[in-house]
């Protein structure tokens, strides 16, 4: 029986993909297998079984130290061949995104990365991903026998574990150590702006007349318990750091609430917020494109509206 093979170096992402693979496998008549590779693999394996993998290929081979992409790709290709995998689902983390094309190349497979939707249409898996810098969504189908999908973490809802532990299997892998050696690994430091994960975001744009005025945006963000973000234009003035850019040149976010203040709404910015649950906009120009994207709109002078909003929010 052909299989769907799931792998991610992140256990949570692997469980999410296994859960989704179970659903797809039921529709396609395919079994689900998973691979857990490297240090701690044995520990992750049981969880993958519980979420739906019939069999988990586990190896803690010393060649996986540092998870070199060439070695992991070779191992996954060997597992895919042994399991008769027709589909490979990996996570589109940075590690996964450099892994997916390499393993695809080994398997003669087409591949799509940064997948943020996966649907079955007449028995064919159709993957959605942003294209043209996020201005559009491309729907792609793969025509090769084996197909590799690198999927953005948290694309799918994960349910409760239902299955048993699954079978743990130690494959006979033939691996050479990588020529690439890991010398050091340390957590990222610096200003911790995590716009991707923010639930509420206040975005500021060129409607702000001078640098000091951005403080108004900060006040609104504080009152909403939101992250502060900006357009590229504002970061180009160096009024806010580049880490806070949303859009083509910055973060692609999906908060529950996005409040655009003094932002006209060019596509180069709005690609980064169009997945927000709710969008609100404050702008002096009633014809600004941002209002076409807004659930709630206020036509008005931000220098009057924002302080009124802050006061109102503080009074709650």
């Amino acid at each position: 029986m052909a299989q769907i093979l799931v792998y991610s170096e992140k256990p949570a992402a692997a469980r999410e993909l296994v859960f989704k693979a179970k659903e797809l496998g039921a529709a396609l008549g395919l079994g689900v297998v998973a691979a857990a590779l490297g240090e701690g693999a044995a520990g992750t394996a049981a969880g993958l079984g519980e979420y739906g993998a019939d069999r988990v290929y586990v190896s803690e081979d010393s060649a996986f130290a540092g998870l070199p992409v060439d070695v992991v790709a070779e191992a996954l290709a060997q597992v895919a061949r042994a399991a008769g995998a027709e589909y490979l689902l990996v996570s589109s983390t940075r590690r996964g995104k450099e892994l997916a094309p390499r393993v695809a190349q080994k398997l003669g497979a087409a591949c799509v990365t940064d997948v943020n939707s996966l649907t079955l249409e007449d028995g064919v898996l159709v993957a959605g991903r942003y294209a043209l810098g996020g201005a559009t969504v491309a729907l792609e189908k793969l025509d090769t026998q084996t197909k590799v999908f690198a999927i953005m973490p948290k694309t799918f809802e994960i349910g409760a574990p239902t299955a048993g532990a699954g079978e743990v299997f130690a494959p006979a892998l033939s691996l050479q150590p990588s020529a690439v050696k890991l010398v050091d690994r340390r957590p990222k430091e610096g200003e911790s702006v995590n716009l991707d994960a923010a639930e509420r975001i206040v975005g500021v744009g060129r409607g702000f007349g001078k640098r000091e005025d951005v403080a108004l945006g900060e006040q609104l963000a504080a009152a909403l318990e939101a992250e502060l973000a900006c357009t590229k234009g504002l970061a180009d003035f160096q009024w806010l750091p580049e880490e806070r850019i949303i859009g083509l040149s910055g973060a692609k976010t999906k908060p529950d609430l996005y409040v655009a203040v003094g932002i006209s709404g060019q596509i180069q910015h709005t690609v980064g917020v169009s997945s927000s649950k709710l969008i609100a906009a404050i702008n002096t120009d009633k014809d600004a494109p941002i209002f076409q994207l807004a659930d709630y709109g206020i036509v008005g002078d931000l220098y009057q509206v924002v302080p009124a909003l802050v006061e109102k929010l503080k009074g709650l």
Partner: protein, 259 residues
């Protein structure tokens, strides 16, 4: 030290407009991708730090893309030589096909270090670098934010999702770079003039031992449209205080405030 740096001509995304959900691509200028420029700059800095070596820029000409101008621009930045692969069949090439052509061009040219942007600025698939590395059987290091030459290889500091990793590899190795690695130089007028005199080799697929059947796309794009937006379009009128009150009440009703 032989450095190959792979460059692509991208549409200028700042110029794209959407009409009826369709991207309007007519009259969009094409330019060297930003990340490719970072890769070229990294190559120049490595060569200059080593006090020698050759940088060859490799570009694949696709339909209506000013590939020669792209190569001239990177030659003006400081690349020494250029290779251009031209073939009508490449108009529809997917990432696997592009990678195959680039890998063959790399074999023909010779290399120690292969440099790529981590993705192209338009579609950002990130597939070509890893696929070229696999075809050539060389290891790869993605997301470099710093590259230092070592005796017979490189040390790379790279930016992962939550970590910084420092890796070392001997040549040959493929490295992809992120934008924070450097600020690409803007070529001087004099260097732009000189660029026209630098060697530029043109290959067809046949020159690389390939033909049109080797570059058939293995995937299909079913549609490419702007997302549909279903928004409420509720506007609040009145003076700022009234607008603020109505807005906050709406947010409370939506349950999106953090309290």
């Amino acid at each position: 030290m032989n450095i190959l740096v792979f460059v692509k001509t991208n549409p200028d995304l700042q110029m794209i407009r959407i009409k009826d959900r369709q991207p309007v691509m007519e009259a969009i200028p094409y330019k060297v991708g930003d990340l490719e420029k970072n890769a070229v700059e990294a190559a120049i800095q490595l060569r200059d730090a080593a006090g020698g070596g050759t940088i060859t820029a490799v570009c694949l000409a696709e339909a209506n893309r000013r590939a020669k101008e792209t190569l001239k621009e990177v030659l003006a930045m400081g690349a020494d030589e250029a290779v251009l692969v031209t073939e009508p069949a490449l108009e529809v090439a997917d990432q696997a096909a592009v990678a195959l052509v680039l890998a063959k061009a790399a074999e023909k040219t010779g290399y120690d270090l292969l440099l790529f942007g981590e993705g192209s600025t338009d579609n950002y698939t990130g597939q070509v670098g890893p696929r070229v590395a696999e075809i050539l059987g060389v290891p790869q290091i993605g997301y470099a934010r710093k590259i230092t030459g070592t005796e017979g290889g490189v040390q790379v500091e790279r930016s992962m999702d939550e970590h910084i990793e420092v890796l070392e590899a001997p040549f040959p190795v493929a490295v992809t770079v992120v934008s924070e690695i450097n600020e690409p130089r803007i070529p001087s007028l004099m260097n732009i003039m000189k660029a026209g005199k630098k060697p530029l080799a043109e290959y067809s697929l046949a020159d690389l031992g390939l033909d049109a059947t080797s570059v058939v796309a293995q995937k299909a794009i079913l549609s490419n449209l702007a997302e549909e937006q279903d928004r409420k379009h509720i506007m609040f009128d009145g003076d700022p205080a009234a607008q603020a009150e109505a807005f906050v009440n709406a947010l409370l009703k939506e349950g999106v405030l953090g309290r």
